[in-house]
Symmetry: C3
Subunit: 211 residues, 3 copies
Protein backbone atom coordinates (compact mmCIF):
# COMPACT_ATOMS: atom_id res chain seq x y z
CA UNK A 1 0.00 0.00 0.00
CA UNK A 2 1.34 3.37 -1.00
CA UNK A 3 -0.85 5.57 1.18
CA UNK A 4 -0.67 6.20 4.84
CA UNK A 5 -3.92 5.13 6.47
CA UNK A 6 -6.06 8.28 6.77
CA UNK A 7 -7.95 9.02 9.97
CA UNK A 8 -11.03 6.81 10.22
CA UNK A 9 -13.92 9.30 10.55
CA UNK A 10 -13.00 11.14 7.36
CA UNK A 11 -12.60 7.88 5.46
CA UNK A 12 -15.99 6.65 6.65
CA UNK A 13 -17.59 9.88 5.43
CA UNK A 14 -15.72 9.58 2.13
CA UNK A 15 -16.90 6.01 1.64
CA UNK A 16 -20.48 6.99 2.47
CA UNK A 17 -20.35 9.74 -0.15
CA UNK A 18 -18.96 7.29 -2.72
CA UNK A 19 -21.71 4.82 -1.85
CA UNK A 20 -24.49 7.32 -2.45
CA UNK A 21 -22.96 8.59 -5.68
CA UNK A 22 -22.51 5.01 -6.87
CA UNK A 23 -26.16 4.17 -6.19
CA UNK A 24 -27.22 7.22 -8.21
CA UNK A 25 -24.87 6.22 -11.05
CA UNK A 26 -26.11 2.63 -11.08
CA UNK A 27 -29.73 3.80 -11.35
CA UNK A 28 -28.83 5.80 -14.46
CA UNK A 29 -27.33 2.63 -15.95
CA UNK A 30 -30.42 0.59 -15.11
CA UNK A 31 -32.66 3.14 -16.84
CA UNK A 32 -30.42 3.05 -19.89
CA UNK A 33 -30.92 -0.75 -19.86
CA UNK A 34 -27.21 -1.43 -19.59
CA UNK A 35 -26.06 -4.88 -18.50
CA UNK A 36 -24.67 -5.80 -15.10
CA UNK A 37 -21.19 -4.76 -16.11
CA UNK A 38 -22.42 -1.37 -17.32
CA UNK A 39 -24.22 -0.92 -14.00
CA UNK A 40 -21.06 -1.68 -12.04
CA UNK A 41 -18.88 0.57 -14.20
CA UNK A 42 -21.25 3.52 -14.00
CA UNK A 43 -21.50 2.98 -10.22
CA UNK A 44 -17.71 3.04 -9.95
CA UNK A 45 -17.23 5.97 -12.32
CA UNK A 46 -19.88 8.09 -10.59
CA UNK A 47 -18.48 7.37 -7.15
CA UNK A 48 -14.79 7.58 -7.91
CA UNK A 49 -14.38 9.47 -11.21
CA UNK A 50 -14.18 12.98 -9.81
CA UNK A 51 -11.54 12.06 -7.25
CA UNK A 52 -9.47 10.09 -9.74
CA UNK A 53 -9.51 12.98 -12.22
CA UNK A 54 -8.41 15.36 -9.46
CA UNK A 55 -5.61 13.01 -8.39
CA UNK A 56 -4.33 12.67 -11.97
CA UNK A 57 -4.34 16.45 -12.41
CA UNK A 58 -2.43 17.12 -9.18
CA UNK A 59 -0.11 14.18 -9.86
CA UNK A 60 -1.18 12.13 -6.85
CA UNK A 61 -0.99 8.90 -8.83
CA UNK A 62 -1.82 6.10 -8.36
CA UNK A 63 -5.11 7.70 -7.22
CA UNK A 64 -6.41 6.88 -3.75
CA UNK A 65 -9.17 4.83 -5.37
CA UNK A 66 -6.55 2.38 -6.68
CA UNK A 67 -4.51 2.17 -3.48
CA UNK A 68 -7.12 1.56 -0.77
CA UNK A 69 -9.25 -1.51 -1.57
CA UNK A 70 -12.28 -0.09 0.29
CA UNK A 71 -12.64 2.57 -2.39
CA UNK A 72 -13.24 -0.16 -4.96
CA UNK A 73 -15.35 -2.37 -2.73
CA UNK A 74 -17.94 0.31 -1.92
CA UNK A 75 -19.11 1.06 -5.49
CA UNK A 76 -19.02 -2.67 -6.27
CA UNK A 77 -21.45 -3.34 -3.45
CA UNK A 78 -23.56 -0.31 -4.35
CA UNK A 79 -23.72 -1.39 -8.00
CA UNK A 80 -24.77 -4.95 -7.14
CA UNK A 81 -27.42 -3.66 -4.73
CA UNK A 82 -28.79 -1.33 -7.40
CA UNK A 83 -28.73 -4.10 -10.02
CA UNK A 84 -30.91 -6.32 -7.84
CA UNK A 85 -33.06 -3.84 -5.93
CA UNK A 86 -33.42 -1.03 -8.51
CA UNK A 87 -37.23 -1.01 -8.42
CA UNK A 88 -37.18 -0.25 -4.70
CA UNK A 89 -34.20 2.10 -4.94
CA UNK A 90 -35.81 3.98 -7.82
CA UNK A 91 -38.79 4.76 -5.59
CA UNK A 92 -36.43 6.02 -2.90
CA UNK A 93 -34.80 8.44 -5.33
CA UNK A 94 -35.94 11.62 -3.54
CA UNK A 95 -34.17 10.32 -0.43
CA UNK A 96 -31.14 9.38 -2.52
CA UNK A 97 -31.00 12.90 -3.93
CA UNK A 98 -30.88 14.25 -0.38
CA UNK A 99 -28.03 11.90 0.51
CA UNK A 100 -26.35 12.80 -2.79
CA UNK A 101 -26.28 16.45 -1.66
CA UNK A 102 -24.33 15.35 1.41
CA UNK A 103 -21.87 13.49 -0.81
CA UNK A 104 -21.46 16.60 -2.94
CA UNK A 105 -20.81 18.76 0.13
CA UNK A 106 -18.23 16.31 1.36
CA UNK A 107 -16.39 15.93 -1.93
CA UNK A 108 -16.11 19.63 -2.70
CA UNK A 109 -14.47 20.14 0.71
CA UNK A 110 -12.04 17.24 0.58
CA UNK A 111 -11.25 17.91 -3.09
CA UNK A 112 -10.39 21.55 -2.49
CA UNK A 113 -8.27 20.68 0.54
CA UNK A 114 -6.32 18.01 -1.35
CA UNK A 115 -5.63 20.50 -4.14
CA UNK A 116 -4.38 23.06 -1.62
CA UNK A 117 -2.20 20.37 -0.03
CA UNK A 118 -0.71 19.73 -3.48
CA UNK A 119 0.39 23.35 -3.64
CA UNK A 120 -2.19 24.70 -6.08
CA UNK A 121 -3.30 28.33 -5.91
CA UNK A 122 -6.73 29.44 -4.70
CA UNK A 123 -8.62 29.50 -8.03
CA UNK A 124 -7.46 26.07 -9.27
CA UNK A 125 -8.03 24.58 -5.81
CA UNK A 126 -11.63 25.79 -5.78
CA UNK A 127 -12.08 24.49 -9.31
CA UNK A 128 -10.70 21.06 -8.40
CA UNK A 129 -12.97 20.96 -5.34
CA UNK A 130 -15.91 21.41 -7.65
CA UNK A 131 -14.49 18.89 -10.14
CA UNK A 132 -14.17 16.31 -7.36
CA UNK A 133 -17.86 16.77 -6.63
CA UNK A 134 -19.25 16.80 -10.15
CA UNK A 135 -16.64 15.00 -12.30
CA UNK A 136 -17.94 11.50 -11.68
CA UNK A 137 -21.48 12.42 -12.66
CA UNK A 138 -20.28 14.05 -15.86
CA UNK A 139 -18.28 10.96 -16.85
CA UNK A 140 -21.31 8.77 -16.03
CA UNK A 141 -23.55 10.82 -18.30
CA UNK A 142 -21.06 10.80 -21.18
CA UNK A 143 -20.68 7.02 -20.93
CA UNK A 144 -24.45 6.58 -20.72
CA UNK A 145 -24.83 8.59 -23.92
CA UNK A 146 -26.53 11.71 -22.59
CA UNK A 147 -25.52 15.33 -22.20
CA UNK A 148 -24.40 15.78 -18.58
CA UNK A 149 -27.34 16.72 -16.32
CA UNK A 150 -25.13 19.31 -14.65
CA UNK A 151 -25.03 21.30 -17.93
CA UNK A 152 -28.81 21.29 -18.44
CA UNK A 153 -30.14 23.60 -15.77
CA UNK A 154 -29.72 21.33 -12.76
CA UNK A 155 -28.29 23.56 -10.01
CA UNK A 156 -25.53 21.24 -8.89
CA UNK A 157 -22.13 22.67 -9.75
CA UNK A 158 -22.58 26.10 -8.19
CA UNK A 159 -23.16 24.80 -4.65
CA UNK A 160 -20.09 22.59 -5.02
CA UNK A 161 -18.01 25.54 -6.20
CA UNK A 162 -19.30 27.68 -3.33
CA UNK A 163 -18.35 25.05 -0.77
CA UNK A 164 -14.90 24.70 -2.30
CA UNK A 165 -14.40 28.48 -2.25
CA UNK A 166 -15.19 28.54 1.47
CA UNK A 167 -12.46 25.98 2.07
CA UNK A 168 -9.95 27.95 0.01
CA UNK A 169 -10.76 31.25 1.73
CA UNK A 170 -10.70 29.52 5.12
CA UNK A 171 -7.19 28.24 4.43
CA UNK A 172 -6.00 31.87 4.53
CA UNK A 173 -7.47 32.34 8.02
CA UNK A 174 -6.51 30.92 11.41
CA UNK A 175 -9.77 29.02 11.73
CA UNK A 176 -9.41 25.30 12.45
CA UNK A 177 -10.02 23.06 9.43
CA UNK A 178 -13.04 21.41 11.07
CA UNK A 179 -14.92 24.70 11.27
CA UNK A 180 -14.00 25.71 7.73
CA UNK A 181 -14.94 22.29 6.41
CA UNK A 182 -18.31 22.27 8.16
CA UNK A 183 -19.10 25.77 6.91
CA UNK A 184 -18.13 24.98 3.31
CA UNK A 185 -19.76 21.57 3.22
CA UNK A 186 -22.85 22.90 4.99
CA UNK A 187 -23.22 25.77 2.54
CA UNK A 188 -23.00 23.37 -0.40
CA UNK A 189 -25.50 20.92 1.14
CA UNK A 190 -28.08 23.54 2.17
CA UNK A 191 -27.87 25.29 -1.20
CA UNK A 192 -28.24 22.02 -3.09
CA UNK A 193 -31.16 20.87 -0.95
CA UNK A 194 -32.90 24.22 -1.43
CA UNK A 195 -32.33 23.90 -5.18
CA UNK A 196 -33.97 20.45 -5.16
CA UNK A 197 -36.84 21.59 -2.93
CA UNK A 198 -37.55 24.85 -4.73
CA UNK A 199 -36.73 23.56 -8.24
CA UNK A 200 -34.11 26.25 -8.69
CA UNK A 201 -32.50 26.11 -12.11
CA UNK A 202 -29.29 27.54 -13.45
CA UNK A 203 -29.93 30.30 -15.99
CA UNK A 204 -29.89 29.43 -19.68
CA UNK A 205 -28.90 31.80 -22.49
CA UNK A 206 -31.67 34.17 -23.55
CA UNK A 207 -32.38 35.67 -26.93
CA UNK A 208 -32.52 33.89 -30.27
CA UNK A 209 -30.23 30.89 -30.46
CA UNK A 210 -27.66 31.86 -33.03
CA UNK A 211 -27.35 29.35 -35.83
Amino acid sequence: MLSTEPSTPLVVLDLLGIFVFAIAGALVAVRKELDVFGVLVLAGITGLGGGVLRDVLIDRTPPAALVDWRYLAVPLVAGLLAFVYHPALGKMEPSINVLDAFGLGLFCVTGAQKALDAGLGPAPAALLGMVTGIGGGIMRDVLAGRVPAVFRGELYATPALAGAIVVVVGSYTDLPFAIVAFTGGGLCIVWRLLAIWRHWQAPVPTGPASV
Copy 2:
Protein backbone atom coordinates in the same frame (compact mmCIF):
# COMPACT_ATOMS: atom_id res chain seq x y z
CA MET B 1 13.90 7.08 -25.93
CA LEU B 2 12.91 6.79 -22.32
CA SER B 3 12.18 3.07 -22.20
CA THR B 4 14.52 0.16 -22.20
CA GLU B 5 13.84 -2.00 -25.22
CA PRO B 6 11.48 -4.77 -24.08
CA SER B 7 12.09 -8.35 -25.10
CA THR B 8 11.03 -8.90 -28.70
CA PRO B 9 8.45 -11.73 -28.53
CA LEU B 10 6.25 -9.87 -26.01
CA VAL B 11 6.44 -6.69 -28.06
CA VAL B 12 5.47 -8.53 -31.23
CA LEU B 13 2.46 -9.97 -29.46
CA ASP B 14 1.57 -6.55 -28.08
CA LEU B 15 1.79 -4.96 -31.52
CA LEU B 16 -0.35 -7.73 -33.02
CA GLY B 17 -3.01 -7.11 -30.38
CA ILE B 18 -2.92 -3.37 -31.08
CA PHE B 19 -3.22 -4.06 -34.82
CA VAL B 20 -6.35 -6.17 -34.42
CA PHE B 21 -7.96 -3.71 -32.00
CA ALA B 22 -7.14 -0.86 -34.38
CA ILE B 23 -8.77 -2.64 -37.32
CA ALA B 24 -11.93 -3.16 -35.25
CA GLY B 25 -11.91 0.49 -34.21
CA ALA B 26 -11.42 1.72 -37.76
CA LEU B 27 -14.38 -0.35 -38.97
CA VAL B 28 -16.61 1.35 -36.39
CA ALA B 29 -15.44 4.72 -37.74
CA VAL B 30 -16.16 3.67 -41.34
CA ARG B 31 -19.69 2.65 -40.41
CA LYS B 32 -20.24 5.97 -38.66
CA GLU B 33 -19.14 7.60 -41.95
CA LEU B 34 -16.29 9.47 -40.31
CA ASP B 35 -13.55 10.90 -42.50
CA VAL B 36 -10.04 9.51 -42.92
CA PHE B 37 -8.83 11.37 -39.86
CA GLY B 38 -11.68 10.00 -37.74
CA VAL B 39 -10.83 6.50 -38.98
CA LEU B 40 -7.18 6.91 -37.99
CA VAL B 41 -8.02 8.40 -34.58
CA LEU B 42 -10.52 5.66 -33.72
CA ALA B 43 -7.96 3.07 -34.86
CA GLY B 44 -5.35 4.60 -32.58
CA ILE B 45 -7.68 5.12 -29.62
CA THR B 46 -9.03 1.57 -29.82
CA GLY B 47 -5.57 0.06 -30.07
CA LEU B 48 -3.76 2.22 -27.55
CA GLY B 49 -6.37 3.89 -25.33
CA GLY B 50 -6.61 1.19 -22.66
CA GLY B 51 -2.86 1.02 -22.19
CA VAL B 52 -2.45 4.80 -22.12
CA LEU B 53 -5.20 5.15 -19.49
CA ARG B 54 -3.50 2.48 -17.40
CA ASP B 55 -0.11 4.16 -17.72
CA VAL B 56 -1.54 7.53 -16.67
CA LEU B 57 -3.24 5.98 -13.64
CA ILE B 58 -0.09 4.19 -12.46
CA ASP B 59 2.05 7.22 -13.27
CA ARG B 60 4.11 5.54 -15.97
CA THR B 61 4.12 8.69 -18.09
CA PRO B 62 4.92 9.33 -20.86
CA PRO B 63 2.95 6.18 -21.75
CA ALA B 64 4.71 3.43 -23.69
CA ALA B 65 2.59 4.35 -26.73
CA LEU B 66 4.34 7.74 -26.87
CA VAL B 67 7.86 6.47 -26.31
CA ASP B 68 8.19 3.58 -28.77
CA TRP B 69 7.39 4.69 -32.34
CA ARG B 70 6.15 1.23 -33.33
CA TYR B 71 3.15 1.67 -31.05
CA LEU B 72 2.05 4.63 -33.16
CA ALA B 73 2.96 3.11 -36.52
CA VAL B 74 0.85 0.00 -36.08
CA PRO B 75 -2.57 1.67 -35.64
CA LEU B 76 -1.66 4.13 -38.42
CA VAL B 77 -1.12 1.26 -40.83
CA ALA B 78 -4.21 -0.56 -39.56
CA GLY B 79 -6.35 2.56 -39.96
CA LEU B 80 -5.14 3.21 -43.51
CA LEU B 81 -5.75 -0.43 -44.45
CA ALA B 82 -9.27 -0.27 -43.05
CA PHE B 83 -9.94 3.04 -44.79
CA VAL B 84 -9.10 1.53 -48.17
CA TYR B 85 -10.15 -2.10 -47.77
CA HIS B 86 -13.12 -1.76 -45.41
CA PRO B 87 -15.56 -3.63 -47.70
CA ALA B 88 -13.32 -6.68 -47.62
CA LEU B 89 -12.40 -6.30 -43.96
CA GLY B 90 -16.07 -5.87 -43.01
CA LYS B 91 -16.83 -9.26 -44.52
CA MET B 92 -13.97 -10.77 -42.53
CA GLU B 93 -15.40 -9.43 -39.29
CA PRO B 94 -16.13 -12.85 -37.75
CA SER B 95 -12.43 -13.67 -38.16
CA ILE B 96 -11.49 -10.24 -36.77
CA ASN B 97 -13.63 -10.90 -33.71
CA VAL B 98 -11.68 -14.09 -33.12
CA LEU B 99 -8.37 -12.25 -33.39
CA ASP B 100 -9.80 -9.52 -31.18
CA ALA B 101 -10.34 -12.11 -28.44
CA PHE B 102 -6.63 -12.92 -28.62
CA GLY B 103 -5.83 -9.20 -28.25
CA LEU B 104 -8.11 -9.02 -25.24
CA GLY B 105 -6.44 -12.01 -23.61
CA LEU B 106 -3.04 -10.50 -24.18
CA PHE B 107 -3.88 -7.03 -22.88
CA CYS B 108 -5.59 -8.19 -19.68
CA VAL B 109 -2.46 -10.18 -18.83
CA THR B 110 0.12 -7.50 -19.62
CA GLY B 111 -2.05 -4.79 -18.05
CA ALA B 112 -2.44 -6.64 -14.76
CA GLN B 113 1.28 -7.43 -14.66
CA LYS B 114 2.27 -3.80 -15.28
CA ALA B 115 -0.06 -2.67 -12.49
CA LEU B 116 1.49 -5.22 -10.12
CA ASP B 117 4.96 -4.03 -11.14
CA ALA B 118 3.87 -0.48 -10.23
CA GLY B 119 3.14 -1.65 -6.70
CA LEU B 120 -0.66 -1.75 -6.84
CA GLY B 121 -2.60 -4.19 -4.67
CA PRO B 122 -4.44 -7.23 -6.05
CA ALA B 123 -7.90 -5.71 -6.62
CA PRO B 124 -6.70 -2.55 -8.44
CA ALA B 125 -4.22 -4.60 -10.47
CA ALA B 126 -6.99 -6.92 -11.68
CA LEU B 127 -9.16 -3.89 -12.44
CA LEU B 128 -6.39 -2.22 -14.44
CA GLY B 129 -5.78 -5.45 -16.35
CA MET B 130 -9.42 -5.37 -17.41
CA VAL B 131 -9.21 -1.64 -18.15
CA THR B 132 -6.21 -2.24 -20.42
CA GLY B 133 -8.28 -4.72 -22.38
CA ILE B 134 -11.54 -2.81 -22.66
CA GLY B 135 -10.62 0.87 -22.18
CA GLY B 136 -9.75 1.56 -25.80
CA GLY B 137 -13.03 0.17 -27.05
CA ILE B 138 -15.00 2.26 -24.55
CA MET B 139 -13.22 5.45 -25.65
CA ARG B 140 -13.84 4.53 -29.30
CA ASP B 141 -17.57 4.12 -28.69
CA VAL B 142 -17.85 7.40 -26.77
CA LEU B 143 -16.03 9.27 -29.55
CA ALA B 144 -18.19 7.60 -32.18
CA GLY B 145 -21.31 8.76 -30.35
CA ARG B 146 -22.66 5.42 -29.12
CA VAL B 147 -23.08 3.82 -25.73
CA PRO B 148 -20.12 1.45 -25.26
CA ALA B 149 -20.87 -2.03 -26.62
CA VAL B 150 -19.29 -3.51 -23.53
CA PHE B 151 -22.13 -2.06 -21.41
CA ARG B 152 -24.91 -3.43 -23.61
CA GLY B 153 -24.86 -7.16 -22.99
CA GLU B 154 -21.74 -8.03 -24.97
CA LEU B 155 -19.79 -10.49 -22.80
CA TYR B 156 -16.40 -8.87 -23.13
CA ALA B 157 -15.30 -7.36 -19.85
CA THR B 158 -15.83 -10.42 -17.67
CA PRO B 159 -13.36 -12.63 -19.57
CA ALA B 160 -10.79 -9.82 -19.40
CA LEU B 161 -11.32 -9.47 -15.65
CA ALA B 162 -11.04 -13.23 -15.20
CA GLY B 163 -7.75 -13.35 -17.07
CA ALA B 164 -6.39 -10.45 -15.04
CA ILE B 165 -7.44 -12.13 -11.78
CA VAL B 166 -5.49 -15.25 -12.78
CA VAL B 167 -2.37 -13.12 -13.24
CA VAL B 168 -2.85 -11.43 -9.87
CA VAL B 169 -3.44 -14.72 -8.04
CA GLY B 170 -0.52 -16.29 -9.85
CA SER B 171 1.77 -13.52 -8.66
CA TYR B 172 1.30 -14.86 -5.12
CA THR B 173 2.49 -18.32 -6.15
CA ASP B 174 5.88 -19.64 -7.20
CA LEU B 175 4.67 -20.45 -10.70
CA PRO B 176 6.75 -18.98 -13.53
CA PHE B 177 5.18 -15.94 -15.20
CA ALA B 178 4.89 -17.70 -18.55
CA ILE B 179 2.59 -20.37 -17.12
CA VAL B 180 0.47 -17.86 -15.23
CA ALA B 181 0.23 -15.62 -18.29
CA PHE B 182 -0.79 -18.46 -20.59
CA THR B 183 -3.42 -19.66 -18.11
CA GLY B 184 -4.89 -16.19 -17.62
CA GLY B 185 -4.75 -15.18 -21.24
CA GLY B 186 -6.07 -18.60 -22.33
CA LEU B 187 -9.01 -18.41 -19.91
CA CYS B 188 -9.91 -14.95 -21.24
CA ILE B 189 -9.62 -16.02 -24.89
CA VAL B 190 -11.58 -19.28 -24.54
CA TRP B 191 -14.33 -17.59 -22.53
CA ARG B 192 -14.61 -14.76 -25.02
CA LEU B 193 -14.67 -17.12 -28.01
CA LEU B 194 -17.36 -19.23 -26.35
CA ALA B 195 -19.36 -16.06 -25.69
CA ILE B 196 -19.14 -15.14 -29.39
CA TRP B 197 -19.94 -18.64 -30.56
CA ARG B 198 -22.81 -19.29 -28.13
CA HIS B 199 -24.12 -15.70 -28.12
CA TRP B 200 -23.70 -15.49 -24.37
CA GLN B 201 -24.89 -12.19 -23.00
CA ALA B 202 -24.21 -10.42 -19.73
CA PRO B 203 -27.35 -10.23 -17.56
CA VAL B 204 -29.46 -7.07 -17.68
CA PRO B 205 -31.54 -5.74 -14.80
CA THR B 206 -34.91 -7.45 -14.44
CA GLY B 207 -38.18 -6.07 -13.17
CA PRO B 208 -39.84 -2.82 -14.13
CA ALA B 209 -37.36 -0.11 -15.10
CA SER B 210 -37.77 2.47 -12.38
CA VAL B 211 -38.49 5.93 -13.72
Copy 3:
Protein backbone atom coordinates in the same frame (compact mmCIF):
# COMPACT_ATOMS: atom_id res chain seq x y z
CA MET C 1 3.04 28.89 -7.84
CA LEU C 2 4.95 25.98 -9.28
CA SER C 3 5.91 27.46 -12.62
CA THR C 4 8.46 30.02 -13.49
CA GLU C 5 6.83 33.00 -15.15
CA PRO C 6 7.10 32.42 -18.93
CA SER C 7 8.15 35.22 -21.22
CA THR C 8 5.28 37.65 -21.77
CA PRO C 9 4.79 37.72 -25.58
CA LEU C 10 4.32 33.95 -25.83
CA VAL C 11 1.91 33.95 -22.89
CA VAL C 12 -0.15 36.73 -24.44
CA LEU C 13 -0.40 34.75 -27.68
CA ASP C 14 -1.32 31.62 -25.72
CA LEU C 15 -4.05 33.45 -23.82
CA LEU C 16 -5.41 34.92 -27.06
CA GLY C 17 -5.61 31.45 -28.57
CA ILE C 18 -7.40 30.15 -25.47
CA PHE C 19 -9.81 33.07 -25.63
CA VAL C 20 -10.82 32.37 -29.22
CA PHE C 21 -11.15 28.63 -28.63
CA ALA C 22 -13.26 29.35 -25.54
CA ILE C 23 -15.61 31.62 -27.47
CA ALA C 24 -16.10 28.91 -30.10
CA GLY C 25 -16.75 26.33 -27.37
CA ALA C 26 -19.25 28.55 -25.57
CA LEU C 27 -21.20 29.08 -28.79
CA VAL C 28 -21.57 25.32 -29.19
CA ALA C 29 -22.95 25.17 -25.65
CA VAL C 30 -25.43 27.99 -26.34
CA ARG C 31 -26.71 26.19 -29.42
CA LYS C 32 -27.14 23.00 -27.42
CA GLU C 33 -29.22 25.09 -24.97
CA LEU C 34 -26.96 24.30 -22.04
CA ASP C 35 -27.17 26.45 -18.92
CA VAL C 36 -24.65 29.07 -17.85
CA PHE C 37 -22.51 26.47 -16.13
CA GLY C 38 -22.46 24.29 -19.24
CA VAL C 39 -21.42 27.32 -21.27
CA LEU C 40 -18.53 28.08 -18.92
CA VAL C 41 -17.37 24.45 -18.79
CA LEU C 42 -17.42 24.05 -22.56
CA ALA C 43 -15.56 27.35 -22.88
CA GLY C 44 -12.90 26.13 -20.45
CA ILE C 45 -12.66 22.63 -21.91
CA THR C 46 -12.36 23.91 -25.47
CA GLY C 47 -9.71 26.46 -24.54
CA LEU C 48 -7.66 24.39 -22.14
CA GLY C 49 -8.51 20.71 -22.74
CA GLY C 50 -5.89 19.99 -25.40
CA GLY C 51 -3.05 21.49 -23.35
CA VAL C 52 -4.15 19.75 -20.15
CA LEU C 53 -4.32 16.38 -21.92
CA ARG C 54 -0.83 16.95 -23.34
CA ASP C 55 0.54 17.93 -19.92
CA VAL C 56 -0.95 14.82 -18.28
CA LEU C 57 0.53 12.59 -20.99
CA ILE C 58 4.03 14.08 -20.70
CA ASP C 59 3.77 14.17 -16.90
CA ARG C 60 3.93 17.95 -16.58
CA THR C 61 1.36 17.94 -13.76
CA PRO C 62 -0.20 20.02 -12.35
CA PRO C 63 -0.90 21.33 -15.87
CA ALA C 64 -0.05 24.94 -16.66
CA ALA C 65 -3.78 25.71 -16.76
CA LEU C 66 -3.99 24.92 -13.02
CA VAL C 67 -0.86 26.79 -11.98
CA ASP C 68 -1.21 30.17 -13.67
CA TRP C 69 -4.50 31.86 -12.75
CA ARG C 70 -4.69 33.72 -16.07
CA TYR C 71 -5.30 30.42 -17.87
CA LEU C 72 -8.51 30.00 -15.88
CA ALA C 73 -9.59 33.63 -16.01
CA VAL C 74 -9.52 33.87 -19.80
CA PRO C 75 -12.06 31.13 -20.61
CA LEU C 76 -14.21 32.34 -17.70
CA VAL C 77 -14.42 35.80 -19.26
CA ALA C 78 -14.91 34.35 -22.74
CA GLY C 79 -17.71 32.09 -21.51
CA LEU C 80 -19.53 34.92 -19.74
CA LEU C 81 -19.21 37.14 -22.81
CA ALA C 82 -20.62 34.41 -25.03
CA PHE C 83 -23.43 33.72 -22.55
CA VAL C 84 -24.57 37.33 -22.72
CA TYR C 85 -23.66 38.37 -26.26
CA HIS C 86 -24.14 35.09 -28.15
CA PRO C 87 -26.56 36.55 -30.74
CA ALA C 88 -23.93 39.07 -31.79
CA LEU C 89 -21.04 36.60 -31.50
CA GLY C 90 -22.95 34.01 -33.50
CA LYS C 91 -23.19 36.45 -36.41
CA MET C 92 -19.45 37.05 -36.16
CA GLU C 93 -18.73 33.35 -36.48
CA PRO C 94 -16.89 33.59 -39.83
CA SER C 95 -14.48 36.02 -38.17
CA ILE C 96 -14.22 33.74 -35.15
CA ASN C 97 -13.33 30.83 -37.42
CA VAL C 98 -10.48 32.90 -38.84
CA LEU C 99 -9.19 33.72 -35.36
CA ASP C 100 -9.67 30.07 -34.42
CA ALA C 101 -7.24 29.12 -37.21
CA PHE C 102 -4.64 31.34 -35.58
CA GLY C 103 -5.25 29.62 -32.23
CA LEU C 104 -4.81 26.26 -33.92
CA GLY C 105 -1.54 27.33 -35.52
CA LEU C 106 -0.26 28.58 -32.19
CA PHE C 107 -1.22 25.51 -30.18
CA CYS C 108 0.22 22.96 -32.62
CA VAL C 109 3.56 24.78 -32.42
CA THR C 110 3.73 25.22 -28.64
CA GLY C 111 2.35 21.72 -28.06
CA ALA C 112 4.97 20.05 -30.25
CA GLN C 113 7.74 22.10 -28.66
CA LYS C 114 6.64 21.21 -25.11
CA ALA C 115 6.56 17.53 -26.05
CA LEU C 116 10.08 17.78 -27.49
CA ASP C 117 11.21 19.56 -24.32
CA ALA C 118 9.81 16.62 -22.33
CA GLY C 119 12.11 14.27 -24.22
CA LEU C 120 9.60 12.64 -26.55
CA GLY C 121 10.67 11.36 -29.95
CA PRO C 122 9.67 13.03 -33.24
CA ALA C 123 6.49 11.09 -34.04
CA PRO C 124 4.89 11.40 -30.58
CA ALA C 125 5.91 15.07 -30.37
CA ALA C 126 4.16 15.81 -33.66
CA LEU C 127 1.13 13.85 -32.48
CA LEU C 128 0.98 15.78 -29.20
CA GLY C 129 1.29 19.06 -31.08
CA MET C 130 -1.80 18.11 -33.04
CA VAL C 131 -3.55 16.88 -29.87
CA THR C 132 -2.87 20.23 -28.19
CA GLY C 133 -4.61 21.95 -31.09
CA ILE C 134 -7.61 19.68 -31.52
CA GLY C 135 -8.05 17.93 -28.12
CA GLY C 136 -10.16 20.65 -26.53
CA GLY C 137 -12.60 20.73 -29.41
CA ILE C 138 -13.00 16.94 -29.32
CA MET C 139 -13.75 16.99 -25.57
CA ARG C 140 -16.23 19.83 -26.13
CA ASP C 141 -18.10 17.86 -28.78
CA VAL C 142 -18.22 14.69 -26.66
CA LEU C 143 -19.58 16.64 -23.67
CA ALA C 144 -22.11 18.39 -25.90
CA GLY C 145 -23.34 15.02 -27.14
CA ARG C 146 -22.18 15.13 -30.75
CA VAL C 147 -19.61 13.26 -32.79
CA PRO C 148 -16.48 15.46 -32.92
CA ALA C 149 -16.61 17.86 -35.90
CA VAL C 150 -12.97 17.05 -36.58
CA PHE C 151 -13.96 13.46 -37.49
CA ARG C 152 -16.72 14.47 -39.90
CA GLY C 153 -14.91 15.90 -42.89
CA GLU C 154 -13.86 19.22 -41.40
CA LEU C 155 -10.25 19.76 -42.48
CA TYR C 156 -8.87 20.78 -39.12
CA ALA C 157 -6.51 18.13 -37.77
CA THR C 158 -4.29 17.82 -40.82
CA PRO C 159 -3.12 21.46 -40.79
CA ALA C 160 -2.38 21.13 -37.07
CA LEU C 161 -0.37 17.98 -37.68
CA ALA C 162 1.52 19.63 -40.53
CA GLY C 163 2.44 22.60 -38.36
CA ALA C 164 3.62 20.30 -35.57
CA ILE C 165 5.72 18.27 -38.01
CA VAL C 166 7.49 21.46 -39.16
CA VAL C 167 8.41 22.19 -35.54
CA VAL C 168 9.72 18.66 -35.02
CA VAL C 169 11.75 18.67 -38.22
CA GLY C 170 13.03 22.16 -37.42
CA SER C 171 14.31 20.98 -34.05
CA TYR C 172 16.84 18.83 -35.93
CA THR C 173 18.21 21.87 -37.77
CA ASP C 174 20.21 24.88 -36.60
CA LEU C 175 17.38 27.29 -37.43
CA PRO C 176 16.31 29.58 -34.58
CA PHE C 177 13.07 28.54 -32.89
CA ALA C 178 11.30 31.73 -33.94
CA ILE C 179 11.73 30.96 -37.64
CA VAL C 180 10.69 27.34 -37.23
CA ALA C 181 7.68 28.34 -35.14
CA PHE C 182 6.52 30.96 -37.63
CA THR C 183 6.91 28.53 -40.52
CA GLY C 184 5.01 25.75 -38.76
CA GLY C 185 2.31 27.98 -37.36
CA GLY C 186 1.98 29.84 -40.64
CA LEU C 187 1.61 26.61 -42.63
CA CYS C 188 -1.13 25.45 -40.29
CA ILE C 189 -2.97 28.79 -40.38
CA VAL C 190 -2.82 29.22 -44.16
CA TRP C 191 -3.88 25.63 -44.81
CA ARG C 192 -6.78 25.92 -42.37
CA LEU C 193 -7.93 29.25 -43.80
CA LEU C 194 -7.79 27.85 -47.33
CA ALA C 195 -9.84 24.87 -46.16
CA ILE C 196 -12.50 27.20 -44.72
CA TRP C 197 -12.49 29.44 -47.79
CA ARG C 198 -12.50 26.66 -50.37
CA HIS C 199 -14.67 24.25 -48.36
CA TRP C 200 -11.99 21.58 -48.52
CA GLN C 201 -13.07 18.38 -46.86
CA ALA C 202 -11.12 15.43 -45.55
CA PRO C 203 -11.79 12.30 -47.63
CA VAL C 204 -14.40 9.82 -46.40
CA PRO C 205 -14.33 6.07 -47.04
CA THR C 206 -15.66 5.06 -50.44
CA GLY C 207 -17.48 1.95 -51.49
CA PRO C 208 -20.41 0.26 -49.79
CA ALA C 209 -20.42 0.77 -46.03
CA SER C 210 -19.84 -2.71 -44.68
CA VAL C 211 -22.49 -3.77 -42.16
